[in-house]
Structures are given as C-alpha cells and as structure tokens.
C-alpha cells in the first residue's frame, strides 16, 4: 500500500515513547504561572476559614468564648468541638487506626493544635476574628521525649484511651504506648549475636523533620444544597481514598461526593493524611450552604500538619572477623506525637521499615518497633520515601559504617563482601520481603570507579596527615551508601489503607482521529505523570505521546485508585497503563486483521501499526485502526476503542542505587562544602531519563537539607523552635550541591514494562550518603556516631568533643 513507510527506528522516535527524554508537558503552564492550584479557585459567595490554635503543647481547655469574634462584622460562624460533637465529627479516624481530635475536645495535646474554626466572608476578617476568640487554658505537664513518655509516672496524654489495653496494632503496655510491631526471629538473632566474633552496637537517631511542600495544604469545600452534592477541591495525594473516607465519616453517599485534586505544589507525603481543616471546611459548607476555603500558612503547615521520621533506632550487627555479616537486631522507639496518624498500609504500623536489612545478605534478623505518644504534632508520613524506608536505609547504612569501624575495615569493601549476589534474586530477606531483582555488585563497582574511590582514600590519608601537621583545618569525608528501596505498594493481599486495597488503575479512550485520553487513579504533585504515562502508552499502542492527554485527580471522571505516594505510581498505575494499552492493542489487532482481510493471527505488531506477517507492505496504522473502530461496522466487534485496567501488583519493586558524597568540613566553624555527589540509580526500565534526573536532583536536595540542617525541633515544654523558614532549612540554589547522575538497568521481572519507580530513591539514598560523609571525615579521630542534622554547631561539637580545637 505504502512504500514510503519510514524506518522502524524513526517511527519509534516519533512516538516519544519509553526511553525518550521528552520535555515535561506540565512545565509550559507551571513556568508561565498558569498552574491551577487550590488557592487559585474562587467560587461565588465563597467564605474563608481560619483556625484558632493552641499555644500550649499540653493543656486542659477550661472555656472557649467566641462572643467577641462572632460580633465582628463579616464573621459567619465559629465552630468548636461542641458544635461538631452532635455530628460525631469532633474526632475523626486516622489512617493508622487511631482517632484524632478535629477540634480540641477538652484538652490540647500539641502546640498548634486546632481549637476553633472561624468562618468569615473575607480572609482578613477571619484572621482578625481568630485573635478575638478567648480560650482559657490550664497548662499540664508536657512530654516531648519518647523515652520519658514511657516512664510509669509519665503524664497521661490520651485520656480518651483510658483503660484500653490494646489498639489497632495489638496490645498497649503503657498509657503512652501505641503498639509493638515485631518481625523476624528474635531467638535465632539473639543466639547469633551472643556468639558472634564481632558485634557493633549503636543508637541511630533519624530526627523529626517535615516534607514542607512549596504549596501548603488546603481545600475548598462546596455543598450544593439543591442537588445534595458535595464537591471538595483540595491538596489531596489520594483523592479517591478521601472520597471513600469522607463518605464513611459523613454518611453522604459516595456518588454525591466529588473530590478534585487540581495542580498540587508538591506533596512528599504531607498531603496524604486527612486534616481537621478539611473536615471543618466541609462542615462549614454544609452548615452555611456556601463554599468554604481553608488554606494554611507556612507556619501552620510546619507546626501542625504531618511531620516525618523521629525514629530512635537501636541497632546491633554481628559479623565474622573477616567481615561477613551474621545477624542484625533493631529496636525502634517511634515518636508518633499526640495521635497515631501515620499513613502506612494497615498491616504495617512501622511501614516497610523491615527493609532494614538493606542491600545485604543477612541470614538472620529481628526487628521490634514501639510506637509512643508525645506532646508533638501527629504525622509520621513518608517524606519522599516509601513508608519508613528512608529511616531503614539510614539505619542500615549507618550500622554498616559502625561495623566497618569496629572491624577496622574499609566500608566499601565491607559492603562488597555482604551484598546480595545477582544470582540470589528473587531474594528472601530475613525480615520477610522477596526482593524482585538486583545487581548490586555491578552498580557498586561502577560507582567506586566513577569517583576514583582508591584515589579519594589516598587524598583523605594525605589530608589527615596535613591536618595533624597543622597545615590545614579542613577534613575530607567520603560518604558511601548502597540503598535498596521497596516501593509500589502494593499487592492487595497484604497492602491496604483503612481497608482500601492498594491496586491502581488506568482507563483509556482512543479518539476516532487517533489521539487519546488516559485517566488514572493517581495524582501528580510534580512527578510529571502527564509526560511519562503518555510515554508508556505511546510505546504500548503506537500513538505519539504528544497526542495522548493524561488526566488525574477528579473522582467523577478518573477510575478508582489509591493515589500517589510511596513511589507507587509507576509500579502500580504505570503497570495498569501498560495493561490497559495491551487491551487496546488486542482489539486493534482484530480490527486490523479484519481491514486487511486476514486472520487475527496473521498480523503482527510493528511499533505503530499492525502488518501482515511476511508482507510488511500491507499494514494498518493505529491511527487508521482508531478511525475504523468507530466508523466501520465490523462483524462480531462492538464499536469504539477503550479499555480499563485495575492492576494489583504481584509484588513490590525494589529499586536500588549507589551514592557517594565527597565533603569538605571546616573543623573550626562546622561549615561544610559538598565537593562531589555521585548518584547511580537503578530503577529498572527507564521511561524518561530527563525526568529521572530531575527527580534525583530534587530528592537528593531534600536529602541534603534533612541531613545537613532541616529539623522540627521542640523545646522541653513543647514549643516548636523551627516553625518558620528562617530556622527550618530549605536549600536555595546557593546551598544545593552539584549532582552527577548515573544508572544501571535491572528491570523488575514482574512489572509489565520492568519499571521500578524512582521518585523517592534519591531521598532514601542521599541522606545516609551525606551523613556518612560527615562521620567519615572524623573517623580517623575516633568518631563512630553523631546525630543529624549535621548543622554547623553540631559538627563543631563533634570536632570539639574529639579535642580538635586544641
């Protein structure tokens, strides 16, 4: 028919499918300020809500007087727990099986807690009215230390749990204890540890920090009293889950609730949970019949919405004299704040922390995690990592360094010696996971070579000699990390959130002229889904990515899915996209065969068309097939070309990587300079290398912030000390290190296109790399462990305590 057919590779390139560094389609509107965020939304008659928040970390509320506030012109209502109680909405379930106050019910448990919700017809009036609400508090003793919280005579924080000896995750042994979660074999591990040649023991603290997305949390709730439909536009990372939970809590039928996540300015886990602001805005809209907007400011975001980390990890690791690891034990004291509001799959109250055997073949291990209440904000979300994986990676990568010190061994060599070998995959870990694929030795060797590891160690030795001779005051640290992530939650058989299975979905409609729309159950917050999912589809169905619209975030149109966090979009929704594409192709094959007047089996797929086997000049392009699907009567086939796939992954995926950080440290000021940062990622099949690189740059920069300065710190009476960006470290272009990215490709054997997910790897991998660099700089002077964040004064203190200031 057509002898002008371009060659295969040209046609493949034209699709901009898998492997193309296609420019992000989202950026056109973002870079021109044309994004559409929640706060851009203005609905007719819209009211504004604002919170009265507790100045105290622990106090009884003796009275709330809102008369003066209500008298201010423009104020429509002031809601307190007493107003929500008749609706049974003064408390709400958390994602972790606990309950949380929506508005303070009798007492407050953390600074910044929501006490009353003021609704006014003007944002400024609402803020003024907040000042006029008079709350009388009686201060109570405060507990900010999770160890002190477990003392027998520690203040009782959660009076609502009085007498409850078990919670959502089993027995509670103390009034401030939430759960104990155990994995692995305790007895076998103890046996190995007690008879080992060498045992290294260390307390590793991963401090409390916060995802701090550029856009804070907020929503606009709008109850249409005429048709009974509630629409909520909000910063939701999981719109469908919000719809279902909202329906279950409010009793409004699920079809009468529409959740819309518009453009989201970053989430990093902070926008997974359900916040009092959402509930209050919804109630206020139901009460007033008008749309109600609630947007928190930066201080509220940092103080009251979900924090991350705050894990005290006590480790013991054993090895033979020559450095073969024989066992690992870990006990975690997890500070959950005032309510357990972690966003983990139900069966995993410490997330996937049991990935803490890392990249190593550790025959036996045991893990116990104790969750504890304190007078701090609730949360415990996965800040750009799969559930508690960054904590786990930090723990094991510190323990490896500590063990190397104990053994007097090079830390790179110790890793090489203990990596799970390529031929051991699929690998069953001692703490219960089945790693899908990996080739750690190849990645590691490539990384060491790329940075000239031996040369760096020589330079470091010279530097130490110079330092000792008084020729320099700067030390050199070489921070090594080999991390293994576990992402893509997850198989419905063991992964659910509040009973909602963690599958995901994609629905595709091909238009008659050969373009398409794909809708997914996930929601991009900057990851570039509209770009990459179109690429997956382009390769599957042979239509150019540029002709495929990807739409997410509107529960009235998108298929049901569990949203975007935990690097699950590509592993789960990306798989659904490929599978839906394959359904399209299967039907297209029948149409093509009919048009070409051959049997279905006599045509084969060729990039963007079906060709008759053995007669490549006879073909039908996908574009032609699409038109025929709608406009030609084909016996035995329904018109149209659509497909939907709900994908329940058979396993998680296990991306990994080798990161190396070279850092200069000024012993006198505690200042540092990252001289080199090399990041090798293996995320399986690479969909869009440019987006991967961008994700690595962003994630590593967040990791840099966490390791080197970012924290949510409290004083002894529970005041947040780092509640503004003056003290909460967000790196600017000035501080951000330069990154060199690299890769190996070990596809996931169970994912339709072999992709594993990458969005969170750089946070998981970079934190230990930065931290290990600091530690490594001082290794020669006797340092084994110092806690993050490694800001100036803490590094100075390390040097000082080691006697390096003379």
């Amino acid at each position: 028919m057509n002898d002008m057919t371009p060659p295969k590779d040209e046609r493949a390139v034209a699709l901009k499918g898998l492997g193309a560094s296609r420019k992000r389609v989202e950026d056109v509107r973002f870079t021109q300020g044309k994004g559409n965020y929640v706060d851009d939304l203005k609905l007719p008659g819209m009211l504004f809500g604002d919170f009265v928040r507790s100045p105290y970390a622990h106090a009884r509320i003796k009275s709330i007087n809102s008369e003066k506030a209500k008298a201010l012109p423009g104020v429509v209502a002031v809601l307190t727990a007493a107003d929500l109680a008749p609706l049974n909405l003064h408390w709400m379930p958390t994602l972790a099986g606990d309950v949380q106050m929506v508005l303070a019910d009798g007492k407050v448990l953390f600074q910044g807690q929501e006490v009353a919700f003021v609704v006014a017809n003007d944002r400024y009036v609402a803020a003024d009215a907040v000042e006029l609400v008079e709350v009388e508090y009686e201060e109570l003793p405060v507990v900010v230390d999770p160890f002190k919280a477990q003392a027998p005579d520690a203040p009782v924080l959660r009076e609502d749990l009085a007498g409850k000896t078990s919670g959502a995750h089993g027995p509670r042994r103390h009034h401030n204890h939430i759960f104990t979660w155990e994995q692995g074999d305790r007895d076998a591990t103890e046996k190995v540890l007690s008879s080992a040649d060498v045992v290294a023991e260390e307390m590793v603290y991963y401090h409390r920090t916060h995802p701090c997305p550029l856009e804070t949390c907020g929503c606009v709730a709008s109850m249409d009293k005429v048709n009974g439909k509630l629409t909520v536009h909000g910063t939701f990372q999981a719109p469908h889950a919000v719809r279902t939970v909202a329906s279950l809590i409010s009793g409004i039928a699920e079809h009468n609730i529409r959740i819309i996540s518009p453009d989201i300015g970053g989430g990093f886990g902070n926008k997974v949970g359900v916040y009092p602001g959402y509930i209050c805005a919804i109630v206020a809209s139901i009460v007033t019949g008008k749309p109600v907007k609630w947007i928190e400011d930066r201080m509220e975001n940092l103080m009251a919405t979900a924090f991350a980390r705050d894990y005290w990890m006590k480790g013991r690791i054993s090895a033979t004299k020559d450095g073969r690891i024989t066992g690992l034990s870990c006990h975690v004291t997890a500070d959950h704040g005032a309510f357990d509001a972690c966003a983990d799959p139900t069966k995993f109250p410490a997330g996937f922390f049991n990935i803490c055997t890392g990249s190593y073949d550790i025959p036996v291990a045991h893990l116990a995690v104790d969750g504890v209440y304190t007078n701090k904000a609730p949360g415990g979300v996965a800040y750009r990592c799969s559930f508690r994986v960054t904590e786990a990676a930090y723990f094991i990568e510190r323990m490896i360094e500590v063990l190397a010190i104990k053994l007097g061994m090079d830390a790179a060599e110790l890793r090489t010696k203990n990596f799970i070998r390529k031929d051991q995959f699929p690998y069953q870990s001692a703490l219960g996971w089945e790693y899908d694929s990996g080739d750690y030795h190849t990645a590691w060797d490539k990384a060491l070579k790329a940075v000239d590891y031996a040369g760096l160690r020589r330079e470091q030795a010279d530097r130490i000699a110079d330092f000792k001779a008084g020729k320099t005051r700067k030390l050199l640290g070489i921070g090594l990390t080999h991390f293994t992530e576990i992402v893509g939650a997850g198989p419905v058989k063991n992964c659910d959130i509040l009973g909602l299975g963690m599958f995901d979905s994609c629905e595709i409609r091909i238009h008659p002229t050969g373009s398409a729309i794909a809708r997914l159950g996930t929601i991009s917050q900057g990851q570039g889904h509209a770009t990459t999912f179109a690429q997956i589809l382009a390769s599957e169905i042979g239509l150019p990515a540029d002709d495929i619209t990807v739409e997410e975030g509107d529960t009235d149109t998108a298929p049901y899915g569990l949203g975007t966090y935990g690097s699950r979009s590509t592993p789960v929704a990306g798989a659904a996209t490929a599978m839906a594409g394959r359904k399209i192709r299967a039907k297209a094959q029948m149409i093509a065969a009919y048009l070409l007047e051959v049997h279905d089996d006599d045509v084969e797929w060729d990039i963007d068309r079906f060709v008759v086997k053995g007669a490549p000049e006879r073909f039908k392009t996908m574009k032609e097939i699409a038109f025929a699907a709608y406009n030609q009567a084909i016996p035995g086939l329904e018109p149209g070309l659509e497909a939907v796939s709900y994908y329940d992954p058979p396993n998680m995926t296990y991306p990994f990587g080798a990161y190396i950080c070279v850092m200069e440290i000024d012993v006198d000021t505690g200042e540092h300079k990252v001289r080199q940062f090399y990041a090798l990622d293996d995320c399986g099949t690479r969909i869009n290398p440019m987006i991967i690189e961008g994700q690595v740059h962003g994630g590593a920069t967040e990791g840099y912030a966490i390791a080197m300065g970012q924290e949510i710190a409290y004083d002894e009476i529970g005041n947040v000390k780092t509640g503004t960006l003056m003290d909460f470290f967000l790196p600017t272009a000035w501080e951000t290190p330069h990154y060199t990215t690299d890769f190996t490709v070990t596809p996931s054997p169970h994912h339709p296109i072999g992709a594993k997910g990458v969005g969170e790897s750089p946070n998981v991998g970079s934190v230990p790399a930065f931290s290990n660099a600091v530690h490594d700089a001082f290794r020669a002077f006797g340092l084994t462990q110092s806690h993050m964040p490694h800001d100036h004064w803490r590094i100075w203190k390390v040097a000082h305590d080691l006697g390096l200031h003379g």
Partner: protein, 284 residues
C-alpha cells in the same frame, strides 16, 4: 500570616512624615523596605494603627560622596549600595556586608535606614556603622540632631531614636585602611551566627589603627574598643591578634538559640574575627 488592620499613609516629605508620627504617637510606625517590619506585622508580634510609608520621600534616597565624607540616605536600598561605583572604592566594606544580607529579593527592598534603625541585633549594618564610627542623622518635631552609631543601640529593639523621629541619613568618613566583613551563617537568607567588621590601617608593616565591631553576639552590636587597641601599634603578630580576640570575647554576650549554644558562638566569633583581621590586613 495576616496583619491586624492598619491605616496606610504615604507622605512625600520628611516634615509630613514627622508630623504624622507626632500626631499618632505610639500608634504609628514608619515603614521603609518593610522586610523586617512586615514579617513582624504578619506574625502579629507588633500591632499599631498607622503605617507611614517613606517610599515617596525622595530626600531620603541616594548616596553622596563629598571628598572624604560619605552620606547615604536612609531609603537607599542594600541593592543600590552593592552596585554603587563610588562606594566600591570609597568604602568597599559596605558592599561586602550588604552582599551578605539576606538574598537578592530582600536586598532590592531592604534599606540601609531600616537596617540600622530596626535595632535587631541580627542586622548586619549596625556593626559596620559602629566599626566606621558613623553618624546617624535624625529628624523630629524639634528639628534635626545627630547620634553616633556607637551611642545609638541600647538593647534589642531599643535605640536612641525617639518615637517621633525619623532617621534621614547616615554619614561617615572614608575608612582609612583595609576593611573586611566576615559573616558565618547557616544558609542564604540567614542572620549571622557570628560576624565581624574590621578596619585596619597600616604603615610600614605596622598597624597604626584598628576598629572592630561584632554582629549578633549580644543584644546590640558590639564595638570593641579594646580589641582594636590590642592591634594598634603592633605588627599584627599572632599574639596581638589573640589579644584582640580575647578582648572581643570579653565584650560579647552571645545567647544559645537555633544557631547553636553560646559556647559555639564564642568559638565562631573568634574564627570570623581572625579571618576578618587577616582579610582587612591583607587589603590595607
């Protein structure tokens, strides 16, 4: 992050501004670049009824160099200071210090007058002005007067400026000798963990005069006469420098905060001072 209600005024002369200030008394504040004041208003840490914007008063703007005398209008921005060719040769320490204040956005708005009138010990310019022995020009209902920068600061946010006075300009002589401003901070946009302003005059290898002031190490800037005296007349030997550092250490009174414990700040102060002395001496 929404301030309490206030009335906005935009006078176009110093007299009109002073009149407004005296009319409203304690209930009024002037705003210059707003980059210290507006955050305080948004946090509702300060609350008053009348905001008097000085932006429209041309007389408060500009940099004048008259022989050895330099006069800078209060409403001159930090950005303008950084890019002023005359200042770059007459008093390079100003651009060096201004370049370490906050970030470019803040420096486009923030003014020298606001920086020195604010009274926040974290501000960088007060220390520089004390180091240069600058004079502050004030204008109030009773006319104008001058106060030495070294006499201006009483405690955090308390200065010699009366409630109804406006700072119109600062003036100082071209510093004789090498100058340096060395600041340690946690990140861009941060106030000093410790900072040192140093001027050193040299003649034939000897230090003939030295002036030293420190930033954010007490509740006011600390001009340390004794530290300068420890260097004057010496050949800047290690012992002389340590004597100056010791004198400085006795004069400061750092407090523990998120930048670190007081003990660390003392250490950092010594480090920045040594570095500033070395840099100033090299430029002298």
């Amino acid at each position: 992050m929404i301030p309490a209600p206030f009335e906005y005024h935009r006078p176009d002369s110093v007299e009109a501004a002073v009149k407004l200030l005296s009319d409203f008394g304690e209930d009024a504040r002037v705003v210059a670049g707003g980059h210290s004041l507006i955050p305080m208003m948004k946090l509702r840490m300060t609350d008053f009824g009348h905001l008097i914007d000085l932006q429209a008063i041309d007389a408060l703007k500009g940099i004048r160099i008259d022989g050895r005398r330099i006069t800078i209008g209060a409403m001159t921005t930090q950005h303008e200071i950084i890019h002023h060719a005359g200042l770059a040769t007459a008093a390079p320490i100003l651009a060096e210090a201004a370049g370490q204040i906050a970030d470019p956005q803040v420096r486009y708005m923030g003014t020298l007058g606001g920086n020195v009138a604010n009274g926040d010990p974290g501000n960088d310019m007060p220390g520089v002005m004390q180091c240069l022995d600058a004079t502050f020009h004030l204008n109030g209902p009773g006319g104008s007067r001058v106060v030495k920068a070294r006499d201006f600061y009483e405690a955090a946010y308390f200065t010699a400026r009366a409630e109804d006075e406006i700072l119109t300009a600062v003036s100082f002589d071209t510093p004789a000798g090498g100058q340096a401003y060395v600041k340690q901070k946690r990140k861009i946009g941060d106030y000093a963990t410790a900072a040192a302003a140093v001027v050193i005059a040299r003649s034939g290898g000897r230090c003939t005069a030295a002036s030293i002031a420190m930033t954010n190490l007490a509740d006011t800037p600390v001009w340390c006469e004794e530290a300068g005296a420890a260097l004057a007349g010496t050949d800047l030997s290690a012992a002389a420098i340590e004597a100056a550092v010791g004198a400085m250490d006795r004069a400061i009174d750092p407090q523990s905060d998120n930048r670190g414990p007081a003990e660390f700040k003392r250490h950092a102060a010594a480090v920045v001072l040594r570095r500033a002395i070395a840099a100033a001496a090299a430029r002298a």
